[in-house]
């Protein structure tokens, strides 16, 4: 009897020592950093949500699910992509109910704008991964954006068209989708192109809902400009490119230039040969030639998704959060995280980038690309670039 008791007390002693040894580790691990990820996972913009969600999963797979001794937990919410009040409510609930330390995602401009006051009130960093209207970060000092803005990708294209005299692009018609980002793109293109000595003959705006591009394209064909500049949101590109070819604008000698949304990597499979030779400007191409990007595209492909520009916004958004946590040593205080995020520089899969400390927008390389078939895959091949380009804003 006595023996047994002794032995068992010895066992307890060992267990107790083990437990004390484990205490520091468990205390740190018990408090995960929670990130509330709000994306359109259903509805008309579900592809944006799918891209970003996959990228976030890839990031956690390749970089581990804990950083600076703390586990990073993602709480995913679907806002349907159309109702800003729903997005705002979800953001508010994530902060008050789930006690997240960072809110992230935000597929479209109104959704981000509606949620901005929550970030300010709750003092949590808000990482905007997709929404691309220029003014978003001005709506809250807690917003950082890891995507891009339309003026940022439009201006280099206008400059490029002016600079390359041998292409003889002197008169242009612009055609944009009639909403925030489209108007940003139109204004930027017109002001940059005319400032460089070019002439914008006409500016057309197509409706956002149920667009039929045929009458617009016909008008452009009749007006015979040297080139047409197009912005449409990703998802509509296939329809535009097919109609462009069907109406024979390419044969009429009208050159097509556009922002990269038109030839979204995600859609290139459907667009295919119709877009051959089209020149676009953008901050990311799945065909970007770097080892980091090749690894990233391969990981995304394992999830059945072809990486596109939205996904990169999500991937770099995660990077910003991870790096900030490293800098604070695992402290997830909102103000400290935000301070750590500002001014970060790193080599992204899209190329070298900096999160501007002042505007909280990305300073990044904008590439001029041409659609070509690379080893059987229709891709946007980069052939020119403007380095360290900052959002010029709408002029």
């Amino acid at each position: 009897m006595r023996n047994i008791r002794l032995r068992s007390s010895g066992l307890w002693a060992v267990l107790a020592t083990l437990a004390t040894l484990m205490v520091p580790a468990t205390v740190v691990a018990a408090e995960p950093v929670k990130i509330g990820l709000i994306l359109p996972m259903s509805g008309p913009f579900a592809s944006t949500g799918k891209e970003i969600e996959s990228a976030v999963r890839v990031y956690q797979k390749t970089h581990g699910d804990s950083v600076a001794g703390r586990k990073v937990e993602i709480i995913l919410r679907d806002d349907g992509g159309t109702q800003p009040d729903v997005t705002k409510r979800l953001a508010q609930e994530l902060v008050t109910k789930d006690h997240v330390q960072v809110i992230a995602g935000f597929g479209l401009t109104p959704l981000a704008m509606a949620s901005a006051p929550i970030a300010t009130q709750a003092k949590v960093p808000m990482v905007v991964m997709a929404a691309a209207t220029s003014i978003i970060p001005t709506k809250s000092p807690y917003i950082v954006r890891t995507g891009f803005t339309l003026p940022q990708v439009t201006a280099p294209l206008a400059d490029w068209a002016v600079a390359h005299k041998e292409l003889k692009i002197r008169s242009v018609i612009t055609m944009v989708t009639d909403y925030g980002p489209g108007i940003d793109a139109e204004k930027t293109f017109v002001s940059r192109f005319t400032a460089g000595g070019g002439k914008v003959v006409e500016s057309l705006r197509a409706p956002l809902q149920n667009p039929d591009f045929a009458p617009f394209l016909q008008r452009i064909k009749d007006a015979k400009p040297d080139a047409v500049f197009i912005f449409v949101p990703s998802g509509v590109g296939t329809a535009v490119m097919k109609q462009f070819a069907e109406r024979g604008l390419d044969k009429a000698g009208i050159r097509l230039i556009a922002t990269g949304d038109l030839t979204d990597d995600n859609e290139m499979e459907n667009i295919g040969a119709a877009a051959q030779g089209v020149v676009t400007s953008f901050h990311y191409s799945a065909a970007h030639d770097s080892p980091e990007n090749k690894a990233y595209v391969a990981e995304m492909a394992k999830l059945g998704v072809r990486a596109n520009f939205h996904s990169v916004g999500g991937y770099d958004g995660m990077h910003v959060i991870y790096e900030a946590l490293k800098k604070t040593g695992g402290d997830s205080n909102g103000d400290k995280l935000l301070a750590a995020m500002k001014g970060l520089s790193w080599l992204s899969v899209r190329g070298p980038v900096t999160l501007d400390a002042e505007t909280r927008d990305m300073i990044q390389t904008v590439y001029i690309r041409r659609v070509a078939n690379v080893k059987g895959v229709w891709s946007n091949v980069e052939f020119d670039k403007v380095e360290k380009f900052k959002d010029p804003g709408v002029q």
Binding site: D78, P84, Q92, P110, A122, Y179, G180
Partner: protein, 326 residues
């Protein structure tokens, strides 16, 4: 509209079930305090559904563009608040009045036709207002939405907080007060006249009642209530998006009302609660495929519960009393 249904004179006395129903929000506040934001949005959408019930369930005017008035109310309150008029109650009232005015003008086009015509006209009005708000981006903010609203304290005492407590009580109070007014209207002779329009539009003129005038009045009131709901949403979320005018919102509203049961006052409230709670719960379970389950729920309710959830409950109760008397 089943044969066994009896038409009684309006009975405005409060029933036990109604009192229990209105005590529920107080219980919710203490039991489910994490869900106050969802609850206040349910109140707002419930109020919006009540306004559709008034014109669809009682007067029988079919509308697929009811969000037009919701949006007008929301933009009115939103513009007032973003231009320095942050007092909530007057903003709410003005939102309702402007929406009622727009509704009054629109009603002359709507009440001319019957079912399909009404459907098309209301749909058209909704689309027109949506596009107008989109084009007038310098006023409404267009697709970017209207932000930068600064709200004053409610009654000068309660400030809108991050946890949504003030928004909860504010929305509940507005819903209750408007509900009282609508309930009184429905149980008045005017309300009985509306039912008459619904079930016998050709006979009403025979008893000397003007169909046209009644429809104009009820459509205007319905628009005004929708405007108040819109203003309430604008004030509690401090943001107005273009979606507040969208067809999507009108269609979803119709679904909620049919789900709850039309022509029963509480149908809209119950439908909004069921729809939004189910949506929230299912979307938490699976953020990608939840719409499938919502669809299934709708099909089941329409197939097995004639007259929505409330209609189904009423039928069950009727059957039970019949069995008891046997």
């Amino acid at each position: 509209m089943t044969g066994s249904q009896t038409y009684r004179l309006p009975d405005g006395r409060w029933q036990k079930a109604e009192i229990v129903f209105w005590l529920l929000p107080i219980v919710v506040y203490f039991v489910a305090s994490d869900y106050l934001l969802l609850a206040s949005q349910i109140f707002i959408v419930g109020l919006f559904a009540l306004s559709l019930d008034l014109i669809l369930g009682y007067a029988g005017i079919v509308s697929l563009g009811h969000a037009a008035f919701f949006g007008v109310g929301a933009y009115t309150a939103g513009l007032l608040a973003s231009h320095g008029w942050g007092e909530p109650l007057s903003g709410l009232l003005l939102g309702g009045i402007v929406a009622a005015l727009v509704g009054w003008v629109a009603s002359f086009m709507v009440v001319r036709g019957r079912d399909l015509t009404q459907l098309m006209v209301t749909l058209g009005i909704g689309l027109m207002l949506f596009e107008a708000a989109n084009k007038a981006a310098f006023i409404t903010g267009g697709v970017d939405g209207l932000s930068g609203m600064a709200m004053d304290k409610v009654l000068g005492i309660f400030e809108f907080d991050l946890y949504g407590k003030v928004a909860y009580w504010y929305s509940l109070a507005v819903l209750f007060v408007v509900f009282l007014v609508v309930r009184r209207t429905v149980y008045s002779p005017f309300g009985l006249g509306l039912r008459g329009l619904h079930y016998g539009p050709k006979r009403m003129p025979a008893i000397g009642a003007s169909v046209y005038r009644r429809q104009v009045v009820v459509f205007t009131v319905g628009a005004g209530v929708a405007g108040i709901a819109g203003a309430l949403l604008a004030q509690t979320t401090q943001f107005v998006g273009l979606d507040s005018l969208s067809f999507h919102r009108s269609a979803e509203l119709m679904i909620m009302l049919v789900l709850g049961g039309t022509g029963r006052l509480y149908g809209g409230l119950v439908g909004a609660a069921i729809f939004m709670v189910a949506q929230n719960y299912l979307a938490d379970l699976n953020p990608v495929y939840w719409q499938f389950w919502i669809g299934l729920l709708l099909v089941l309710v329409v197939m097995f519960a004639h007259g929505g959830v409330l209609g189904g409950l009423a039928a069950l109760r009727q059957r039970r009393t019949k069995e008891a008397t046997k």
